[in-house]
């Protein structure tokens, strides 16, 4: 064989191949729109060839084509079955409602029974089925589909030439065929999952599927953050809520990685779905009306792990305000952020700065106080931040009577702590001397246990200020310079002598409160002397009585 012969034969073979291929290509060619992927929002109607032409082409025009009414009259009510040679049986029942609701029933030009079922083969009385078993029957029937629909998307599935073909009805079913929109919903994936996940049928050509379908549906790898970040890492992506709120859905992966939930998490670095447990791909539509409503909904996710904190927060003043319909009330993410959640108390100044986001005027008061100044400017570890007085998650309403009545004990937790106060040269007598005073006795002892008693007796913060607590020695605004004004806040008639009625948190001494000191001294002598004297007289009289005189 010469080289020339070889070339001639090759050319001949190639020509034959081109001719056959061309013919096949011509036969199967369809407009491009039917096979290209379409966006889920705008699923176009499937382009199908005009029905009449196909029927004329294929059909030899039966003398009396059976009417739909005739078919349905039997098939909608019967419970008859067809028995195949293989012994398998199939019900011949057809639900006319699901047929009417199917893509074919809802079409502008609804299909008749004979559009799919060969009118010649179904003359009445019906001839017995030719196929030997159910599968052969199904395969034979599915050829009706390709009369209208191009079988292009079956390329990844084994075709009729294979031993185990996948046929149209395997996915689309026979009578209740779903419209195109359905295949973009989550439900549709269950059809694929039936074979490829449940029954473990391996994919033959992964590359034919989109990245998300491959990774998410068939490998179950949408559990990884990489899968989510495939979309959410891209900048400038937003989501629009029904009320018009537009929020970014771009996630800062680095921020998440560096957050408390990230690489340093003692449990494990959290994946997206560890919090977003119910999010699956493709996403279900959001139900929230607004961005705020969505944020509030999402805080439930925090509760999955942070149960204690969530329980505490659920009785807080914020939760109560939220329950009353105040959507501004703080929820988890308002204080802690999301995705880039930092350690909430590092540095400690972060605490007041967090509260400042909503309580800016109160923060301003705090910032000029002795406590705020020491924390914000000196990073002092002892002074109270917001949470030391108000609590962390179970923040109670500070305007209630019980908060007020118990507030002196709150101050005392630090100000009666000798070790702590010694560092700053502050007297720890302040609490005891307050309790010993009229105001303090009333509030801390008689009214502290009854949250319903509204006391008008002064508590620490009535005199020292609520958030703008200054040093008593402050030359301008300190309480010592302004004691009369302070008293007059509650006692407007007070005169310049009146402030001396307050012993200034000093224990009575001859120097500080000579009159009080002397009164105490007088009775320290008179009471024991009187009691002793009278007791002596009574004792002598008892002695007399005992002796019987």
């Amino acid at each position: 064989m010469t080289n020339l012969d070889l070339v001639k034969r090759a050319l001949a073979a190639l020509t034959l191949l081109l001719v056959v291929g061309g013919l096949l290509g011509f036969f199967f060619w369809q407009p491009a729109a039917a096979e290209t992927a379409v966006a889920p929002q705008e699923a176009p109607a499937l382009e199908v060839a005009p029905l009449g032409t196909i029927l004329q082409q294929d059909d030899q025009q039966a003398a009396q084509p059976p009417s739909d009414a005739a078919c349905i009259s039997c098939h909608s009510t019967t419970d008859a079955t067809v028995t195949f040679e293989s012994g398998e049986t199939v019900s011949v029942h057809v639900d006319p409602n699901s047929l009417a609701a199917s893509a074919h029933g809802m079409a502008a030009d609804p299909l008749a029974c004979t559009s799919c079922h060969d009118a010649n083969a179904y003359q009445f009385p019906h001839a017995s089925v030719a196929e030997v078993d159910v599968r052969s029957f199904e395969i034979a029937q599915s050829e009706a589909c390709v009369r209208c629909h191009a079988p292009n998307h079956l390329t990844a599935h084994p075709g009729l030439e294979s031993e185990n073909p996948v046929i149209c009805t395997d996915c689309h079913t026979s009578h209740d065929v779903q419209p195109v929109d359905y295949w973009y919903t989550l439900d549709a994936t269950t059809v694929c999952a039936d074979c490829h996940v449940e029954r473990g049928v391996e994919l033959t050509d992964q590359a034919a599927l989109s990245e998300h379908i491959q990774a998410g549906l068939f490998s179950q790898t949408q559990q990884t953050s990489e899968f989510c970040m495939g979309c959410h890492a891209a900048p400038n992506q937003t989501m629009i809520f029904p009320n018009g709120d537009e929020v970014s859905i771009t996630v800062d992966g680095t921020g998440l990685h560096d957050s408390v939930h990230g690489i340093d998490n003692e449990w494990q670095a959290l994946e997206c779905v560890d919090c977003h447990t119910s999010v699956v791909f493709p996403h279900e539509p959001k139900t929230a009306e607004s961005a705020r409503e969505y944020s509030i909904e999402q805080t439930q996710l925090c509760a999955n792990c942070h149960e204690t904190q969530h329980e505490d927060a659920s009785v807080s003043v914020h939760a109560m305000a939220l329950a009353e319909g105040n959507l501004n009330a703080a929820v988890c993410t308002d204080c802690h952020g999301f995705h880039d959640t930092p350690v909430p108390n590092e540095p400690r100044a972060r605490i007041p700065e967090t509260c400042e986001q909503c309580h800016s005027t109160i923060f301003n008061d705090y910032a000029i106080s002795v406590h705020g100044h020491a924390l914000l400017d000196e990073d002092n570890p002892d002074v109270p931040s917001c949470v030391d007085c108000h609590g962390v998650h179970n923040i109670s309403d500070p305007t209630t009577a019980s908060f007020r009545n118990r507030s002196p004990e709150l101050c005392a937790t630090c100000h009666a702590n000798e070790e702590m106060m010694a560092q700053y040269g502050i007297s720890t007598d302040v609490f005891d001397t307050y309790v010993a005073d009229f105001h303090g006795t009333t509030v801390t002892i008689f009214e502290s246990d009854d949250p319903n008693v509204e006391t008008n007796k002064a508590v620490c913060y009535d005199c020292h200020g609520i958030h703008a607590i200054l040093s008593p020695d402050d030359p301008e605004n300190g309480i010592k310079e302004n004691l009369l004004i302070t008293c007059q806040k509650c006692h407007p008639d007070a005169s310049s002598n009146f402030p001396d009625a307050w012993t200034g948190h000093h224990r009575p001494t001859l120097q500080d409160n000579p009159l009080l000191f002397l009164v105490n001294l007088f009775y320290a002598i008179v009471i024991p002397a009187t009691v002793g004297f009278l007791g002596f007289l009574v004792a002598t009289d008892l002695y007399r009585k005992v002796r019987g005189r």
Binding site: V247, R292, S295, S360, H491, N497, D500, L515, Y523, Y543
Partner: protein
Amino acid sequence: MSMVGAPRNEAEIEQELRSRGEYPRFRLMARIEHIILLISFTILCLTGLPQKYALYSISQSMISAMGGVETVRMIHRWAAIVLIIGAVYHILTSAYRLFVMHERNRVLPDLKDATDLRDTVLYNLGFNEEPPKMRKFNFGEKFEYWAVVWGTGVMILTGFMLWNPIAVTKVLPGQIIPAAIAMHGWEAVLAAASIIIWHLYNVLIKHFNKSMFTGTLTEKQMEEEHALELERLEAGGQAYTEPPLDILRKRQRTFFIAAAIVAVITVAALYWMFTFEDTAITTIVPVSTPEVFVPLATPIP
């Protein structure tokens, strides 16, 4: 028995009592005073002492049982008014007895009280064979009387200061208020202790002495504690002196005018005391709640 304005013959009454072996001890005026004092003093102790000893749980239980500290303080003030009325009544009846009836003042202490005290102790301890013979008011009773006078004075004075601290400090230095608090509390302790140790022992344990309610004492008790008075009565002395009726009427007229004036002044003073000042008891609202939600300009969410 003698009622003001309707005197009966004292001598007749005495005769009637003695026929039953009893001797007149307290007239109705004194018994009324005692009941006023008994009731108000008890209420004042029950409502006041728990406030002084606030740290004890029994005090706190008592206060809450009586309806909370604010209620207790109002009860205390009303009881104080009753006590003050009792004190004024005592001053008026005493004045009547001194200036209208011209009775001798028999409650002032003197040297005999000191020797009676000494002799009583010596007798009790067995050094003397006989107890001292004592007068109508013995040393123990005089001590109690003057203790009550002193105590009531202190309590009314300091109590007024605590009731009206703002008004008081317009005149007096501020230091007087904490001193008054301390004095009011300690004096109460002193009074309560004295009453329990001395008075209750003497009238309930030593004898069961009902004379403050019946007005009379038995001969035996007279012998033991008021032997000199018994001797005086037995020698024909009258328990109470009684001036001639025309002189009595004349003095009574003057007295009743003066007493009416004093009574009116007292009522006015008490009303004034109650309404003297306002902002110590009913203070203005101490704190107004500012707007709390003042967010910084931050984007949602």
